[in-house]
Symmetry: C2
Subunit: 466 residues, 2 copies
C-alpha cells in the first residue's frame, strides 16, 4: 500500500474528479457534491457518473467511471451502500487514483461483511479509499468541498491556517459552522468515518507535512494502527499544535462510538497518556476546542508564564487572577520603570499593581497607555486584557487600540470580554486582528496555559528528536 498521506494530497487538489451518484435532484447528496465542485472555484475537469441521466447541470454524464476518457484523481462515491464494492472495483479497473466514499450503512450498522468486501476490493487494486460513512474533504484553496450540508444552514469558513480532521460528520459540521461563525480561517478539512483504509494515522501524517496548516483540530473515536498512530502523534506533535477530542471516554461512550463508526475506542487513559507525552492538547469539551485552537492560530509561542493582566472591571479581574493561578500562570510583577510611568499617567484611583485595574471609566487613552506599558515590560510574557464594553469609556477606539498592538507582537495577547450585541461587534473587530477574545477568564487562562505548555514541549522535543 502506497503512502496514504500523498493520496490525501491528491484528494485535496485533484486534476480531475468523478462523482458517482451525481444527480439532478437537489435533494440528493450527489447533487450537492457536484454543485460544490461547480460553484466553489474548482478548476479541474468534472465527470458526473449516473446510470440513468444524460446531462446534469450542463455536464455530460457517464454511465460508469470506466467510460470516462482518462483516469481520474478522485472518485467521490454517493450511491447506496450495497452498490459501493462494485463501484470500487470499477475505479480500480479505471485506474482511478483515490476514492472518497460518503455513503453510510456499513460496519457502523452491523454490515460488517459489506465493509469487508469494500476493503478487499480496494486492496486488490491498491486503491486509497476515504470513508465510508464520512462527509469527505474540503480545501477552500483548490475549490474542493465534498460536504453535502445545505449551504444556507452553514457559515462556511474562509481560508486560513487551521486544519481540521474529524471521524464524525456531525462533529465536523458543527465545528466547521462554529469556525465559520467565529471568522477563523480553515486550511483543509478531512472527515474519515469508518476509516476502513485511510485512517487517523495517515491524516496526522498528511497534516504534519501540510504547509498551509499551522494548528490542527482533531476529533477521534478509535485508532486502528496503534504503533504507527503513536509515531504519527509524535511526528506531528513536534511540528505543530494539535487540539484533540477523543470520544469513548466512558464505557457507555465507547459503546456509542462502536454504533457510530464501528470504532474500537480502546483504553482512554492510554490515549490520554500518549497525547500528554507528545504535546497534544486534549479536550473533549466542544465549548473549549475552538477556543483552544484560536490562541495557536495567530499568537506566538512563548514558554514564560508571567501574565500582565489589565482590566476595566474589578470583579472580573479578581476572577481572572484566580483563573490564572489555577492554571499554573502567575501575575507579572511590573518593572519599577513601568510602575513609575503608570503612576504618572493613570488617575490616582488606579492602584499600580497587577491586575492593573484601570477603572470602569477607562477610555482609549488609558487603555492605550496601559497596554503599551505592560506589553513592553520585560517582566511580562503574555498580555491579557479584560475589556468590558458595557462600561462608559470602552468603545471601538479601544478595540482598535488593542488590534494595533497585534502587529509584530512577540508576546501573545488575549482579550477577555463578554456580553450582548455591542460586545459581540467589538469582539469581531478585535478577532479580525488575530487576537483571540474569550468570554470568560477561565477559558482565557486555559488557553494561555495550553500555549505555554505546548511551547515548552516543542522546545524540549525539538532538542530531543532533532
Amino acid at each position: 500500500m502506497e503512502d496514504m498521506s500523498s493520496s490525501i494530497k491528491i484528494m485535496m487538489n485533484p486534476k480531475n474528479v468523478a462523482i458517482v451518484g451525481a444527480s439532478s435532484n437537489p435533494d440528493k447528496v450527489g447533487y450537492s457534491i457536484l454543485k460544490n465542485y461547480l460553484d466553489l472555484g474548482y478548476k479541474g475537469k468534472i465527470y458526473p457518473v449516473n446510470i440513468k441521466e444524460e446531462s446534469i447541470l450542463g455536464l455530460k454524464v457517464y454511465k460508469s467511471v470506466l467510460d470516462i476518457p482518462e483516469p481520474v484523481d478522485v472518485v467521490v462515491v454517493a450511491v447506496p451502500a450495497p452498490l459501493v464494492p462494485n463501484i470500487i472495483d470499477e475505479c480500480g479497473r479505471a485506474k482511478s487514483k483515490t476514492v472518497v466514499v460518503v455513503t453510510a450503512g456499513f460496519a457502523e450498522v452491523g454490515e460488517v461483511e459489506l465493509e469487508k468486501k469494500l476493503v478487499e476490493t480496494a486492496n486488490k487494486y491498491n486503491l486509497p479509499v476515504l470513508g465510508p460513512n464520512c462527509v469527505g474533504v474540503m480545501d477552500l484553496g483548490s475549490g474542493v468541498d465534498t460536504l453535502f450540508l445545505p449551504a444556507y444552514k452553514f457559515d462556511r469558513p474562509g481560508i486560513g491556517t487551521l486544519g481540521f480532521a474529524s471521524q464524525s460528520g456531525s462533529v465536523a459540521g458543527n465545528i466547521l459552522d462554529v469556525i465559520g461563525g467565529e471568522n477563523l480561517g480553515l486550511s483543509k478539512f478531512i472527515s474519515y468515518g469508518n476509516a476502513s483504509i485511510i485512517n487517523e494515522t495517515d491524516i496526522l501524517n498528511y497534516f504534519a507535512d501540510d504547509e498551509d496548516t499551522k494548528v490542527l483540530v482533531f476529533y477521534l473515536e478509535g485508532a486502528k494502527r496503534g504503533k504507527e498512530f503513536i509515531e504519527a502523534v509524535k511526528r506531528i506533535g513536534v511540528k505543530k499544535p494539535v487540539i484533540i477530542a477523543k470520544g469513548g471516554e466512558t464505557e457507555a461512550g465507547a459503546q456509542a462510538a462502536h454504533s457510530h463508526t464501528a470504532s474500537l475506542t480502546g483504553n482512554y487513559q492510554v490515549y490520554d497518556a500518549i497525547f500528554k507525552q507528545y504535546g497534544f492538547i486534549h479536550s473533549n469539551n466542544l465549548d473549549e476546542i475552538i477556543s483552544l485552537a484560536k490562541i495557536f492560530d495567530k499568537q506566538p509561542l512563548v514558554t514564560g508564564n508571567r501574565v500582565g493582566l489589565i482590566t476595566n472591571g474589578g470583579g472580573t479581574g479578581v476572577l481572572a487572577t484566580d483563573a490564572l493561578y489555577n492554571n499554573g500562570l502567575v501575575l507579572a510583577d511590573l518593572t519599577q520603570e513601568s510602575k513609575d510611568y503608570l503612576r504618572k499617567v493613570m488617575p490616582p484611583i488606579v492602584n499600580i499593581r497587577t491586575p492593573l485595574d484601570i477603572g470602569g471609566d477607562a477610555d482609549y487613552a488609558r487603555f492605550n497607555d496601559a497596554i503599551k506599558t505592560v506589553l513592553n515590560d520585560d517582566n511580562v510574557d503574555v498580555l491579557a486584557i479584560i475589556a468590558l464594553f458595557q462600561t462608559p469609556g470602552a468603545d471601538s477606539k479601544v478595540a482598535q487600540a488593542i488590534c494595533n498592538y497585534s502587529v509584530d507582537s512577540k508576546k501573545p495577547i488575549v482579550v477577555i470580554s463578554d456580553g450582548g450585541s455591542y460586545t459581540q461587534t467589538h469582539k469581531k473587530i478585535i478577532e479580525s486582528s488575530g487576537i483571540p477574545v474569550y468570554s470568560s477568564p477561565e477559558m482565557a487562562a486555559k488557553s494561555i496555559s495550553a500555549l505555554i505548555n505546548y511551547a515548552k514541549y516543542k522546545e524540549a522535543a525539538s532538542k530531543l528528536y532533532e
Copy 2:
C-alpha cells in the same frame, strides 16, 4: 438596626426617590440615573438634588434632601466620595428611608477613614445604606434602574424570574448584558460593592423571600457576618437554587479582591464547603454561570438521573454519552414498548438504543416520533436532544416540535446545539419556550447534574428543616 431585607424591598419599589448629584450633563452618572427613572416606567415622584442647577430634564431641582417637602424612600447618591458622609447625615436628618451610594473611592482605594465616617453617620440615624462603590439596584417591574451603563452598550434583560446579585459592578454589567442577549428574564438585580452596611447576608434574605425570583445568581467576594451569612445560605438554599461565584479563590485573587471591594475573602475551602452543604451550585466560570441558571429558570426539578438522549449526529452523541457519565448521569434504558414503537417508525439504519441516533437526515417527523416516545418513557427522568441544524432535515419545524413538548412537561428537557447564524436563530426559537440550549454536551450534562443534585438536596433539606 432594622431588618435590611425590608430596606432592599423599599429600594426596589419606592414611592419616591431623590437623586443627589443629578446632572444635566449626559456624561455624568447623575444624568444617567435620573434619565433611567424618567424613561423606564418608574411611577413614583422624582426629586433631583444638585446645589448648582435649577431644573434638569424638566424637573425642579432641590439644593439638598433637606429641602424636599417629604421624606423619601430612596436617596441615590452620585457625588464625589469626600462629600458622601455629609449627604448621609442630611439623609438621616431628612428621615430618608434608604440610601444607595454608587460613588467609588472608599476603602477599596485605601480611604478607610472616609468609609468609616460614612458607616458611623449612617448608624447614627439607623440608615440602611447600599454600597458605596456599587451600581445599585434594578427592578424592571417597578421601573427602578440605578445602573449608569450607557444603554446602547448593553442588551437590557426583559422581566423574568432570574434574580441576580453582584458585589462587583463589572461582573454585574457583563452578566446582565449576557442575560439580555440570551433573552433570559430578570426579576431583580442588586449590586452592593463595599457592603459597608447592607451586605450579602441581607441580600440572600431578601431574595429568599422575593416571590418574583425563582433562581438566584450571586457573585460574592467576601462575607462580613460569618454566622448570619451561613444561616442566610441555609435559609435560601432550601427555598430556591442559588448559582454562586466566589472571587478570591487563590491568594493573588484574594489580594485583588481586597483592592476591589476592600473584601476579606476568607478561606475559600470553607466557603466551598458551606455552599456544598446547603445546596448552592458553586462555579467561578463566567461561561458556566448563566448556563447553569438557565436550566433552573424554566425546567422542573427531578431527582432521577436517567437521561433519554436523542441525537441527529453520531459523534456528538458519543461525546454527550461520555459527558453524561462523567457527570454522574446514566443513559436511560427505554421500555420494551418504546423500543417496539421506535423500531416500527424509525428507518432500519437507526439503532434502537440510547443514545438514540436518529440519523443525519432526521426531519421533523423523525424528531417528533423520537421526542414523544422518549419523553413519555417511564424509564426516562430527563430528556436531552442533540439537534444539529447543519444537517439537511433539521429546520424550524424541528425547533417548533421541541418547543411544543416544553408545555406541561413534568420532566426537564435540554437541547444541545451549536453552530453559526442558522443554528443561533433556531437556538433562540427553542429558548423562547423555556428549554435551555447548550453549545456543548459537557455544559448540558453539568447543568442536568446540577439540577438533579439540587432537587435531591431540596427534598432532603425540606424534610430535615421543616
